[in-house]
Amino acid sequence: MAGLGLMTFFALLAGTIGWASPYDPVRIPDGDLAALKLAPPSSSHWLGTDHAGRDLFTRVFFAARVSLFIGAACTAFSLVLGLPLGAAAGYFGGWADQGVSRALDVLLSFPSILLAIAIAASMGAGLGTVVLAVGIVGVPQFARQVRASVLTLREQDFVTASRALGAGHGRILFLDILPNALGPIIVLATLGVGTSILMAAGLSFIGLGVEAGTPEWGLMLREGYRDRTLSPWPALFSGLAISLSVLGFNLFGDGLRDALDPRSTEVR
């Protein structure tokens, strides 16, 4: 429930910040920047200002949109590739399984952040690159989970029954097996959003993430870290936003797992 609360908090503020705040999250304000920049929290700037004199409160919550979008898009990307690959490997077995599993092993053999850095560095920084890099890194996790579930399910009586009734592969896979494998995938996807936000922030932190100037937590943390001796607030608040949102997704994912997995309910 705490996880759901945190997620709702970020989502609500991200959704309303656009019209609630008098400040622009991206435009550098006109006026005396030397006086405006890196100001501490005050009544006009609740969390202070960043290196370009922009309101931090507006940026931190506007960045929730960007970071949540990145988290969701990366997970969707991983899922769209991972689900069919895993399903095919688990259902058909044999060569299909060998091929997919070995390819996944290759992907898994790279430390995930290194693989993401390699992809991002070769393509140039940008939002699309981040989604692609972090998305690809997440594919094996989903594919393996789906494959494992499908492997167990395809031997179940209701599948044998369906097959005996003359159902084709498509029908069995999509209407009989996958709906029953969805529970763990939903949990994994929820946890995946948190991991993706963290990894995307990592890429931005080292300068390979989103476009310079974008309100995105990792990039804001990087800029804040640079200025920490002049003002600790930008680094503190963007770091806090990353921690809390990832914590939110993780708690929510754990909660979902407990709710969806009958065995864990029984134990309690």
């Binding site: 390979l208 310079a212 100037g213």
Partner: protein
């Protein structure tokens, strides 16, 4: 033997223990040297050491980039500009005890330029600066004659380069390839010890011909992270940090134990346009971009107010007495008009930038984001793409790149060192990423290279500048000040070009 071993151990301790810091000046920098052979020097970290162990014939005055004799006492250039006679300083000895004379000068330059020389260095990155040198010969024990292939206005300046530092022929012959580990020059400091990636210990050379350094021992330590180095500085574990970040300047100025020294800029950061690609090839577009750039805001957002707004690609300290260059106009309203007239209002454009720090762009992302912001305020839609070092170098040399961020630090404090590599047609597609190839500009720059009359050279540079300013192949943004962090116990004034340990003093 035992007392020698004891001395060595004591020397090692002096380097390791902060308690002994009072005796030696401890200088922290970003990385260790790779070589101590001046002919092999390619980057600043190597040069920092060789500039104190070796000496060139000609060097800079203590407070400017004006030339003065170091191992040379006088020089005369022939009427046709094809040869130069140099008189050498008397009573100078190398660290190995051998005397400095005309033979040593001839040996040094032959070793640098002759690919078949028996003591040829392993690499010679700056040898190409001497490709116009035809012959160097001793015409007396203290007199050398340089003969050139073409008349060159920058030859005297080339003599200040790292590679032109005079080496002891005996030491080179004795150590061979190991000379890079056993340097022997005429400088105020001699190498006492080099523990790779740990420390370099330099001791005062008692036989030095000039004023002796105030500090008897300098220990140079590599501390990769500026943050770590600064913490050490605050605690008194080191006395100098030569690579502070711009963000550190203010806190260090306010700290009780530390201070900062600033020096005029020898670099430029500029915005370039690919003149082979639309809309960047449209002069009205480039004029509009130029009018949209607010250098004051850029300085505040991206340079911690430690840069000077640029009105020329050549820094003012190098442009010196050449006709002054007026500031670029900032007028967003006029920029919008120009864009509208060119049919480019709300056009989509791209700006590529590096993601790695350089002296002229310590925060490339911030420069890019500020320029994007300023261009979007005149209605353009700007996409930014950042690249790491290898990818960026390739990218800016392709013909397909858009607007780009680039910069340059002077090798030599002469206008040609900026105008020729960055803007001359000869270098289009290389360092000249805009593909600027203007006949008038090219001719003026080329003519200035061999023009020895300073007045005429200045008017040629002014002509080149006017073409540059009119065509806007690149727009200079800022010149970034050089900075160094010091303990309050140290007195040291930065030189615009060199790191001179020998002028530092250290109080107890």
């Amino acid at each position: 033997m035992t007392w020698k071993a004891l001395l060595l151990a004591a020397a090692a301790l002096a380097g390791a223990a902060p308690a002994q810091a009072g005796k030696a000046l401890i200088w922290a920098r970003g990385a260790d040297s790779t070589t101590m052979d001046p002919a092999e020097v390619e980057w600043g970290e190597d040069a920092k050491i060789t500039q104190n162990v070796f000496e060139p014939l000609v060097s800079f005055r203590h407070d400017s980039v004006e030339l003065e004799g170091r191992l040379a006492t006088a020089w005369t250039v022939s009427a046709d500009g094809m040869s130069m006679t140099v008189d050498l300083r008397d009573g100078v000895t190398f660290h190995d005890g051998t005397p400095f004379n005309a033979e040593a000068v001839v040996f040094t330059f032959n070793r640098l330029t002759d690919a078949k020389h028996p003591q040829r260095p392993r690499v010679a990155p700056y040898a190409s600066n001497f490709s116009d040198l035809s012959k160097v010969e001793a015409v007396g024990p203290r007199r050398v004659l340089f003969t050139l292939k073409t008349s060159s206005a920058v030859f005297l300046h080339n003599l200040t380069l790292f590679g032109a530092c005079i080496v002891s022929p005996e030491a080179v012959k004795k150590h061979g390839e190991k000379f890079a580990l056993n340097p022997s020059g005429t400088g105020p400091y001699r190498l006492a010890r080099w523990d790779r990636d740990v420390r370099i210990v330099l001791d005062r050379f008692d036989g030095y011909w000039g004023p002796k350094p105030a500090v008897g021992r300098v220990i140079v330590v590599p501390v990769n992270s500026p943050q770590t180095a600064i913490e050490k500085l605050k605690k008194g574990e080191v006395h100098v940090v030569d690579h502070p970040t711009l963000a550190d300047a203010k806190p260090l100025q306010e700290h009780a134990a530390t201070k900062m020294d600033f020096e005029t800029s020898m670099n430029v950061c500029y915005l370039g346009f690919n003149l082979k690609k639309a809309p960047y090839n449209n002069p009205d577009f480039r004029r509009a971009v130029s009018l949209a750039i607010d250098r004051k805001a850029l300085n505040a957002v991206a340079y911690y107010d430690l840069a000077e707004p640029a009105s020329n690609v050549v820094p003012p300290a190098i442009w010196r007495d050449t006709a002054p260059t007026p500031a670029y106009e900032y007028d967003p309203a006029k920029a919008r008009e120009l864009l509208a007239r060119a049919g480019l209002a709300s056009h989509k454009v791209e700006l590529i930038h590096m993601t790695f720090s350089r002296p002229y762009v310590p925060e490339p992302q911030r420069v890019a984001e500020t320029i994007k912001d300023q261009l979007e305020k005149i209605g353009l839609e700007v996409r930014l793409t950042g690249y790491d070092k290898a990818a960026y170098t390739l990218k800016t040399r392709e013909e397909s790149h858009p607007m780009y961020l680039q910069g340059w630090s002077a090798d030599l404090p002469v206008p040609d060192n900026f105008l020729y590599p960055l803007l001359h047609g000869d270098n289009a597609g290389d360092l000249n990423g805009s593909f600027f190839n203007d006949a008038e500009f090219n001719a003026a720059v080329k003519a200035a290279q061999s023009e020895r009359d300073p007045g005429k050279a200045r008017s040629l540079y002014t002509k080149a500048y006017e073409r540059y300013r009119a065509e806007l192949p690149t727009i200079p943004l800022v010149h970034v000040k050089q900075l160094i962090a010091l303990s309050k116990r140290v007195d040291y004034n930065m030189h615009p070009i060199e790191y001179r340990f020998f002028i530092a003093t250290l109080r107890e």
